[in-house]
């Protein structure tokens, strides 16, 4: 028994190191000077070099510990050029409206789906589920067609509007509602509370964990947008940092990577339990 526990600790430690190491490397390398980065990753300075076979003698030298610790990467990132900040802002301009809009659109809809006695609601809900299940590339086709028809193609709205309407939010919150005791709502209704009051006074507090879970999952998803920007936004000026980061390999890359993961990591550290709950709810049974 004891040996078993010790062994599982050792294995877990190994796994944890494997999972954390890549993130740690990025974190510590963001504290290297630009000079040290080009020394270590010189072979990667341009993407062309990456595919050439000439530079094969110079290999990237990944190290967890910087020769000297400095904040110059961050300094250059924040004050050196407006480019990274601009791309970061582009990411915010996509993720923030989608996440906020998705919550505002989904929560009342989920409530309606759960409470309504409309005969065909489950059929409509089934369509939601089907669209939620299809791969992203498939649902991008209708999104694209509609963006063309509405002449919003090439603008952020082409990504934001379908993102807000995504069925996942309705699904997640309704899954949560199914676990709630109905008695609360019925008791309040018998007491003469109208639907709006029931919604505001009783359902909203019960909704909180579900909304927090949706916020977490939706933010992580939309902070990591790749497909939509490359398909809908042809204008480089609107490109989010998620896409831009994969195209650059200058001396700022690690600081930029850290800078970009920071909001996601902070939100994760703050609301990990909500994320876990969200994942558990997102399983279809």
């Amino acid at each position: 028994m004891r040996v078993n526990t010790a062994l599982s600790y050792i294995l877990l430690t190994v796994l944890a190191v494997l999972f954390l190491l890549p993130v740690c490397v990025i974190l510590t390398n963001s504290l290297m000077s630009g000079f040290e980065i080009s020394n270590r990753f010189g072979a990667f300075v341009t993407p062309e070099n990456f595919y050439s076979s000439v530079g094969a003698a110079h290999f990237a030298q990944i190290s967890l510990i910087p020769d000297s610790v400095t904040l110059t990467q961050y300094f250059d990132l924040l004050f050196g050029s407006a480019e990274y900040i601009g791309k970061f802002w582009n990411s915010v301009l996509l993720a923030a409206p989608i996440v906020a809009g998705q919550i505002v659109v989904s929560a009342p809809a989920a409530y309606a789906f759960e409470m309504s006695r409309f005969k065909f609601k489950e059929i409509i809900y089934f369509i939601y589920i089907v669209i939620m299940l299809v791969p992203l590339q498939v649902s991008l086709v209708p999104n694209y067609i509609m963006a063309q028809l509405l002449t919003i193609n090439g603008t952020r709205l082409a990504i934001i509007l379908p993102g807000m309407a995504s069925p996942f939010g309705v699904f997640l919150i309704r899954q949560h509602m199914k676990n709630l005791p109905r008695d609360y709502v019925e008791a309040a209704q018998i007491d003469g509370a109208g639907h709006l009051r029931v919604l505001i006074l009783i359902v909203t507090p019960l909704f909180k964990p579900a909304v927090a879970a949706l916020f977490m999952l939706s933010f992580i998803e939309n902070w990591n947008l790749v497909e939509q920007p490359v398909i809908f936004l042809r204008d480089i000026a609107m490109e989010p940092l998620s896409v831009y980061l994969s195209q650059i390999d200058g001396s700022l890359i690690f600081a930029a990577s850290c800078f970009y993961m920071l909001p996601a990591v902070l939100i994760f550290l703050y609301g990990q339990e909500y994320m876990v709950e969200g994942i558990q709810l997102s399983g279809i049974k």
Partner: protein, 285 residues
């Protein structure tokens, strides 16, 4: 009766933003897309039946993409089930440290893929650290060989295992402790307990994890696109790449036909699994 009707109207009002969004960006344009899939081109709109589907199915590139997607799923889905199950079992033994280890294993889930792209390239590129450390004399272009499949699977699991770990942890928590105590009393060893209790009672969760893994496996496009671009090595050229590249050439007929094929495959798998699960649980109860 009157209040009933009135609340139904209120529910409709609640659901309206979501319903409108779904109709506008998903359902209606999916209809348009089906129409585009059965006409000859965007000028004459002549009905050609399944001709476009046939053309797509007969194209070499599509077949390659289909084969690769199948192979990728065949590697990725089981790996992304076995490893999380293993990790979840270990985590349950960790007792007080469970939260900390769990957090480490979940962290990659929130790291934006773009933040990691440079790191993975500097690890597995021709000039990468893996070659530098192990094969300095005969460097292998890992991402440009069949190995890319293994690397992408590894990167994918690193990023997404946390999702399934959470699902498995919830599933394992549902198995009553008494079963193990009972089995231990009757002299069953640890291994037999694992085989005859854990592995049996985790089956319902595993169905769920399987379905979620199939759906999530399509997210691998992000990683492949960010690490290897729109035209990666032919062994990791997936259906998502095919659809993405149809976007660039804007061939609506191929785009629509291909996306319907991909949709049919996904939904086919999910429906099959649900049927299979139902039959299984009927036989056992």
């Amino acid at each position: 009766m009157k209040t009933r009707a009135r609340s139904e109207i209120l529910f409709l009002f609640f659901a309206l933003p979501s319903l409108t969004g779904m109709l506008l960006f998903f359902v209606a344009p999916l209809g348009v897309s089906l129409y585009l899939a059965v006409v000859d081109n965007a000028l004459t709109y002549r009905f050609v039946g399944f001709q476009n589907f046939k053309n797509v199915m007969e194209s070499e590139v599509f077949r390659l993409a289909l084969k690769n997607t199948g192979l990728f799923m065949a590697i990725c889905v089981p790996a992304n089930m076995l490893f999380p199950l293993f990790a979840a079992i270990l985590l349950r033994k960790a007792g007080a440290r469970k939260g900390l280890f769990g957090m480490f294993l979940l962290l990659p889930l929130v790291i934006p893929s773009g933040s990691m792209a440079f790191f993975w390239r500097s690890l597995f590129g021709l000039n990468g650290a893996v070659n530098g450390t192990f094969f300095p004399d005969a460097p292998v272009h890992w991402l440009n060989t069949g190995w890319s499949r293994v690397i992408i699977t590894g990167v994918f699991i690193w990023k997404n295992a946390g999702f399934n770990i959470v699902l498995y942890l919830a599933g394992l928590a549902l198995i009553p402790r008494e079963y193990y105590e009972c089995a231990a009393l009757e002299g069953a060893g640890r291994f037999r307990q694992f085989l005859q209790i854990t592995m049996v009672y985790i089956i319902p969760t595993s169905f769920l994890v399987f379905i979620m893994s199939v759906i999530n496996s399509f997210k691998a496009f992000k990683e492949i696109y960010l690490i290897a671009g729109a035209y990666p090595h032919h062994s990791i050229y997936l259906l998502q790449h095919y659809i993405y590249n149809q976007f660039t050439s804007l061939d609506y007929q191929k785009l629509s036909a291909a996306s319907y094929i991909l949709m049919a495959i996904t939904i086919g798998i999910v429906v099959f699994m649900f049927r299979f699960q139902r039959r299984l649980s009927e036989n056992f109860s």
